[in-house]
């Protein structure tokens, strides 16, 4: 209990004194996870919507696969990305290993299935509602996807935030591909793992509280910006 209190106190001091290391680490965490979120959303939102409205041969298989990939172990993703990006790997020439870019790649792989799968669930319901009308209006496939994404944007926001939650709290993959290098690839989660290993629980806890505050702050501000929960329907 004492440790937790101490952690809160040092978290407070780290924040109010604008500790340079903390700021840098937090910003890097945000930068990596938000980039991963944007890239994953650009892929997953249309993909999930497409799966909801289009009947094709291997659709069921694709959806089961997607659901299975939601549980992809980050450590394994990290390992595979590591091998692909390592000097001797196929993308070794790009020199991306141990850079924030590698961490973004790993996180995109981890959260894309999650966002796509939640999107698919939400869009399936909306499509059931809109189906007859959009067919009757003679819409093209692309117009249907656009309409569903726009009218289901609040559900999609939830899907994206779930992805962000997973990305910002993820440690296994970015530890492997990022390497937790001070001033280069150290982020909140890897720093927490390191400080815990060193036995500096106060600092680890402080970083942990900052991480939680960050996650809550991002969620609230996105909801506020997108004006969810304001109109009667939602």
């Amino acid at each position: 209990m004492n440790d937790i209190l101490e952690g809160l106190v040092s978290a407070f001091w780290l924040v109010v004194t604008f500790d340079t290391d903390l700021m840098q680490i937090s910003l890097r965490s945000l930068q990596v996870s938000l980039s991963a979120l944007v890239i994953a959303s650009v892929i997953a939102l249309p993909l999930g919507t497409f799966l909801a409205i289009r009947r094709f041969r291997y659709r069921r298989l694709t959806i089961s696969l997607l659901n299975a990939l939601m549980g992809l172990p980050p450590v394994v993703v990290g390992l595979i990305v590591y091998i692909l990006l390592s000097r001797s790997g196929p993308f070794g020439v790009l020199g991306l290993l141990f850079t924030p870019t590698a961490m973004i790649i790993a996180q995109v792989i981890i959260i894309t299935p999650l966002i796509a799968s939640i999107t698919h669930q939400a869009m399936r319901e909306l499509w059931a509602e809109y189906h007859d009308l959009l067919i009757s209006l003679n819409t093209s496939g692309w117009q249907r996807i656009k309409t569903l994404i726009w009218d289901g944007r609040r559900n999609l926001l939830t899907a994206s935030l779930a992805g962000f939650g997973r990305a910002i709290g993820e440690v296994g993959a970015i530890m492997i591909v990022g390497g937790n290098i001070d001033n280069a690839t150290r982020v909140l989660t890897t720093a927490i793992a390191l400080e815990t290993g060193k036995g500096d629980f106060a600092l680890a806890l402080a970083l942990g509280f900052v991480l939680i505050a960050l996650a809550i702050g991002i969620n609230i501000s996105i909801h506020w910006l997108s004006r969810t929960e304001r109109e009667g329907r939602w």
């Binding site: 809109y130 117009q143 289901g152």
Partner: protein, 237 residues
């Protein structure tokens, strides 16, 4: 008068899971007026309407317009029994069909304002369409269907569950559309409405067209025993 018609249905059959829902139906729709489809529940009225609109998969037979199918698809509209509201404002619901066909913005706004006034919702344009009352939703659905000025309009029991005033508003919009040469094909359970609007009529029973004729004869001198029973209000098995 529309160049799209006549619409010819030839030996149309619709089967789902081994059960015959419709057909065989052979039918030619002449180019003008309002065709009313009546009949008991499950007699195939909606399926027939959907076949004509081209959104039902045919198990057999064919439905052909006088113009190419792609063109025909563009020039018709359908109003569903339960109005489907986009989760947008009233104004955006009206804009939507025009935006799909890339209508110039100024033209869209003119049409939207015209139709909002026509259905009496001009004060509620900014409201979410899903929050309208049942009658308002159905009027909005009708306006959204007519906003592209379709040559052919299908309506599936547009006045089910509506009160007298809303029914009158909808019938008045349909009358206007008729004078502007829109071809209308609709189903109804309201025989009063059928008499008020119909130019000719079809009686559906067990998935086939049991009797048809111009409204004058159809309602006053029904030929088949089943249609006579239907008009008397008997329950037809």
């Amino acid at each position: 008068m529309s160049m799209m018609l006549p619409l010819t249905l030839k030996d149309v059959v619709v089967r789902r899971r081994g059960k015959r829902l419709l057909g065989p139906v052979n039918l030619t729709l002449r180019p003008e007026g309002l065709t009313m489809i009546v009949g008991p529940n499950g007699s195939g009225k909606t399926t027939l309407l959907r076949v004509m609109h081209g959104v039902e998969r045919l198990s057999d037979g064919s439905a052909t317009w006088a113009v190419a199918e792609e063109e025909a698809r563009h020039r018709q509209a359908y109003v569903f029994q339960t109005p489907i509201m986009l989760r947008r404002t009233v104004a955006d619901n009206l804009r939507y069909p025009l935006q799909l066909i890339a209508t110039p913005r100024a033209e869209i706004e003119t049409s939207v304002n015209h139709w909002a006034r026509r259905i009496g919702l001009e004060a509620r344009m900014g409201l979410q369409a899903t929050r309208l009352s049942g009658g308002e939703k159905q009027k909005l659905a009708l306006a959204r269907a007519l906003i592209r000025k379709p040559d052919v309009l299908f309506l599936d029991e547009p006045c089910a569950n509506l009160d007298g005033a809303s029914t009158r508003d909808i019938e008045s919009i349909l009358q206007t559309a008729l004078t502007e040469k829109t071809r209308i094909i609709m189903t109804t359970h309201d025989l009063g409405q059928a008499r008020r609007l119909a130019g000719d009529a079809l009686f559906m029973l067990h998935g086939v067209v049991h009797e048809r004729g111009p409204a004058s004869d159809f309602f006053s001198t029904p030929q088949t025993a089943e249609l006579q029973a239907f008009f008397r209000g008997d329950i037809i098995a």
